[in-house]
């Protein structure tokens, strides 16, 4: 596949990088990423991955754009109010870069449909806002050996880790099971500063670019935390994968996907931050 002159110019800043170059850009253009959640995290991730020229980008979200989303979900505009988020996000991606193939899933992912969807992608971004979805994505990712980026944000804090199943620790290795109901507030109750979602969602896009191109080292075996109030990043080294993990150990207890019970405040798995 040869670049057109337009592509050479569009992707020139990538091609100039020794770590990406011509080969890396071709890998991006032949690569695919599924973004689960077109909200606070998914918006910047989708914008950057479309701009980067990732060949095929899937976007899954069953919600419609709400006025209260626009403070941080920067892929949608005021004109998109009431429209399906996945459709709105796909349109913006296409407008940025017509080279990108977008695939729209206007549905929340659950134990029945998730495996059939993630199998078509090289890398998955968990851009959801609730624990049932995070455990579902982790378990489905581990069972399908599908690499993914986990992220979570709340108020002024965010966290991030990348999972290469059966090589690096998974989300469940660190957070063994669903927190009790009401132990952790959702961002609907707790609030979230918009630019925080931009920081962490952009880091997820970076992990996807690094995974596809092979540049640098992934955030595996580590949990990155970010505190915006003190402007502090920390990277915590995690214990090795395996022993005792209910899903990714060599003798897992969990071998089937579960749709966990919703927390009290009525949100749906797969809905975005």
């Amino acid at each position: 596949m040869a670049f057109t002159d337009e592509q050479l110019e569009r992707y020139s800043r990538h091609i100039l990088l020794k770590e990406i170059g011509v080969r890396g850009q071709k890998k991006l253009m032949n690569g695919s990423v599924l973004i689960i959640g077109a909200g606070g995290l998914g918006s910047p991730a989708a914008l950057y991955l479309a701009a980067a020229g990732v060949g095929r980008i899937g976007i899954a979200d069953a919600d419609v754009v709400d006025l209260s989303n626009l403070q941080r979900q920067v892929i949608h505009t005021t004109a998109d109010l009431g429209r399906p988020k996945a459709v709105s996000a796909a349109e913006t991606m296409k407008a940025i870069n017509p080279d990108v193939e977008t695939v729209v899933y206007r549905e929340f992912l659950n134990s029945k449909n998730i495996s059939g969807i993630i199998k078509d992608y090289d890398f998955v971004l968990d851009c959801t806002d609730n624990f049932p979805a995070k455990f579902l994505i982790n378990d489905a990712g581990v069972m399908a050996d599908k690499p993914f980026s986990h992220a979570g944000i709340l108020r002024f804090r965010g966290q991030l880790m990348t999972v290469i199943p059966h090589e690096s620790p998974c989300y469940r290795c660190v957070f063994h099971e669903m927190p009790p109901k009401d132990a952790i507030p959702s961002c609907r109750e707790a609030g979230i500063v918009g630019a925080m979602a931009g920081v962490i969602g952009s880091l997820q896009a970076l992990e996807a670019v690094k995974y596809l191109t092979g540049a640098g080292e992934l955030l595996t075996g580590k949990l990155l935390t970010f505190d915006a109030l003190t402007m502090t990043f920390h990277t915590v080294q995690l214990p090795p994968r395996g022993d005792g993990c209910a899903v990714c150990s060599d003798h897992p207890e969990i071998t089937e996907l579960t749709d966990y019970e919703q927390p009290a405040c009525e949100f749906k798995p797969g809905s975005a931050v």
């Binding site: 050479l8 110019e9 020139s12 091609i15 020794k18 170059g21 011509v22 080969r23």
Partner: protein, 84 residues
Amino acid sequence: MAEQSEYKIDETVDITGVVCPVTFVKTKVALEELDEGQILAVHMNDGEPVQNVPRSVKDEGHKILKLIGNEDGTWDLIVRKAGA
């Protein structure tokens, strides 16, 4: 271009029609398509391209064999591709 005959040129790329950074991008793409040890001639304008492209090529580890000034003010950079 007479002096080019000293070298067995495997490929030539003309970057006189583009500006920075596409000058170096086109050079990189041309080098990418060669095998290690093959020789590329890059035809470029005076000024910014000749100031920057040879340095960028060198920074990526390739061997600059010669920079030839032409009578019309353009330059030909002769580069041997380094291994990946």
